[in-house]
């Protein structure tokens, strides 16, 4: 096991986490007044939907930790400590709901959507890309340029198109939401189908536009692998086509592809979040949109922190998996 890789990743994660927390803490305080305090004051003025009691409780809890009476480094340390415990405080918009509660409700939707679609797109895309190099024919010849177009377009624009054509014009699929408004969430089969039915379009838009990314990358890898000496030697030994394609071709080309997956993770997360927004899907993306609209800073920061941590965690998992796939990094560099 290549320990240095893992240690480097852990240190990197710590830095990212620390950096994000620091940014979240200082940015509002240095952008001309404290927008959070202003926002709270503004709520107090307008009354809003919040009862006066709730509001004063909110302000009290905010001041207790970040009030102006504390020195800024103490506020900062408090904040870091909270972040380390993943305590994001109360939502401004839905006081006294805690940010964690909101995130907890949204997270399963996002993770479910993102993991399934990314896996499908990664596997199918990689296979298609490899196949396009292996068998050059009319099918792959027309498919690849089409994929190039889809790969270029952000996920959510594909989503908009799907909503317009399949949702609005043909009315085959619902245009948004995680399930029908009149259905109550339950562990019934009906509800599961309802959820799947609603997930079709968001999932399709992610898969459609990211499958091309993987296919194109895999095509490049396969071309590189096809030119390697071990492929020449394999051919000169008269190995079967199956073995050449799977054990020699895909087996080697998938390695850089896994690395690319780690690098593209941020892109995938960003894309998925915007797709949720387009489809009003009840995940983190939509929650983020609501929080931005409602100037609910604590929720915004909480979501950002959770997403950052998720990305770091998945990258770490990929780092742990990679040596299993590639014997060359298993023992570390010689």
């Amino acid at each position: 096991m290549d320990l240095s890789r893992i240690i480097k990743r852990l240190v990197l994660t710590a830095f990212v986490f620390f950096g994000a927390a620091t940014l979240n803490f200082f940015l509002p305080r240095f952008s001309g007044g404290d927008p959070i305090a202003e926002r709270l004051a503004q709520l107090g003025d307008s009354g809003g939907t919040m009862s006066a009691d709730a509001l004063s409780a909110m302000i009290a809890s905010y001041n207790e930790r970040f009030g102006l009476d504390l020195p800024i480094w103490e506020q900062y340390l408090n904040y870091l400590w909270d972040m380390m415990r993943l305590d994001f405080g109360y939502s401004i918009a839905y006081f006294p709901t805690r940010v964690w509660t909101l995130i907890g409700q949204a997270l399963p939707w996002t993770i479910g959507l993102m993991i399934t679609t990314t896996l499908i797109a990664f596997l199918a895309g990689s296979f298609l890309g490899a196949f396009a190099v292996w068998r050059k024919n009319a099918m792959t010849g027309t498919l690849m340029p089409l994929m190039m177009v889809f790969a270029a377009v952000p996920f959510y624009l594909v989503g908009l198109l799907l909503i317009f054509f399949l949702g609005y014009q043909l009315r085959w699929f619902p245009t948004g939401g995680g399930f029908s408004p009149l259905v109550l969430p339950s562990w019934e089969l009906d509800f599961a189908f309802n959820v799947l039915y609603h997930a079709c379009l968001p999932a399709a838009s992610i898969v459609l536009s990211s499958i091309g990314i993987w296919a194109l990358a895999m095509r490049g890898m396969m071309v590189t692998v096809a030119g390697q000496d071990y492929m020449t030697f394999a051919r000169a030994r008269g190995l079967s086509d199956r073995r050449m394609f799977f054990s020699y071709g895909i087996r080697n080309a998938i390695l850089p592809q896994v690395t690319t997956l780690g690098l593209a993770l941020g892109q995938v997360v960003t894309g998925a979040i915007l797709v949720e927004i387009v489809f009003s899907y009840p995940g983190l993306g939509n929650l983020l949109l609501q929080a931005v609209r409602g100037a609910d800073y604590f929720t915004v920061y909480g979501i950002v922190m959770i997403l950052v941590l998720t990305i770091c965690f998945v990258t770490l998992v990929l780092d742990l998996i990679y040596p299993l796939l590639d014997p060359r990094v298993r023992q570390g560099a010689p």
């Binding site: 994000a20 270029a152 960003t270 931005v292 920061y301 997403l307 990305i311």
Partner: protein, 318 residues
């Protein structure tokens, strides 16, 4: 370390070719062709480049001439009757707030491209400077720069930008967005330029320049930069595309100039007023179409450029 082979095997002297070994069919041989011919033949083999260029030229013309031929003030709310389908007065119809969709599309294309170009220009200049310095000098400069880029690349730009933009939401204009985006637009150029410089600094001519008494700074400016210019263009194009992606993404979340008709804000308003459910297809189709053209154009251009300009891939076409 030099690349000398370990064996004593010597390459055998090349000798003049007899005529029937290699027969040239029709056109002049590759080495006699001029740059333009090479470019043309490259385009024929790799149509992504000319198609991308054509798409972008079309959009630039559309936005540039459109501003002259069509009153873009109509992109402001309440400049026409709302909810109008396409008609003689408003060829693309009007939206729910009474903006003329044609004017919005023209002005939006212009604003969005401007945002992307400004952010990318700043990002490319800063990124190239950092990339050259860290790649050429190495040592602790390289370690620090590389580490920061590593940390920043782990987090998707849009998450950082959301935090920044959300904190100063009220004061956003399309210009200030360009600056905000440029805060992160240097990461990839740094990485790309650095990796090229790492290769280039081992080239013999860098050693020749050192023997000629040139300082490190001089070598970068006089020896490396001229050779990397085509690649820097490719880096810039990629950066423009990435900046536009970030800008449109942020604006689609509502984090953008509330009173400027950028393409991203148009997408936001479209969703805000549920244009789909109201069946306002004329409001949806033009801006979305333009954004798609924009991204496809940039994607094709940069994938074509990359192969043409990347010194490491260039051997194939020479």
């Amino acid at each position: 370390m030099t690349k000398g082979h370990a064996s004593t095997g010597k390459p055998i002297p090349a000798s003049p070719k007899s005529e029937d070994h290699i027969i040239v069919l029709g056109t002049t041989p590759a080495h006699e062709r001029q740059f333009m011919d090479r470019l043309l033949s490259y385009c024929r083999r790799n149509p992504a480049f000319p198609i991308g260029l054509a798409l972008l030229c079309f959009l630039v013309t559309f936005a540039g001439f459109g501003r002259l031929l069509w009153p873009v003030e109509l992109a402001q709310p309440l400049s026409a009757t709302p909810y109008l389908p396409p008609n003689a007065q408003n060829p693309f119809g009007t939206d729910t707030q009474g903006r003329d969709v044609l004017a919005v599309t023209i002005a939006g294309t212009w604003l969005t491209m401007r945002t992307g170009i400004i952010a990318a220009a700043l990002g490319t200049v800063l990124g190239s400077a950092l990339g050259f310095a860290s790649g050429y000098f190495g040592g602790w400069v390289d370690n620090v720069v590389n580490w920061i880029v590593d940390v920043l690349l782990t987090v998707p730009a849009i998450l950082i930008l959301v935090v920044i933009a959300a904190s100063i939401q009220g004061q956003l204009s399309s210009l200030s967005m360009a600056f905000i985006i440029s805060l992160l637009a240097w990461r990839r150029p740094t990485r790309q330029v650095r990796s090229q410089v790492l290769v280039m600094r081992n080239m013999g001519y860098v050693d020749t320049a050192r023997l000629s008494g040139m300082s490190g700074f001089e070598i970068i400016v006089r020896e490396l930069v001229p050779n990397l210019l085509p690649y820097l263009v490719a880096v810039f194009v990629l950066a423009v595309s990435a900046s536009i992606l970030a800008a449109v993404g942020l604006q689609a979340m509502g984090l953008g100039p509330q009173n400027e008709p950028t393409l991203g804000m148009t997408v936001y308003w479209m969703m805000y007023y549920s244009a789909f459910l109201q069946g306002l297809w004329w409001w949806i189709v033009p801006p979305v179409f333009v954004i798609i053209l924009l991204f496809v154009g940039f994607y094709m251009l940069s994938s074509g450029l990359d192969e043409f300009a990347n010194p490491r891939l260039r051997q194939d076409i020479r």
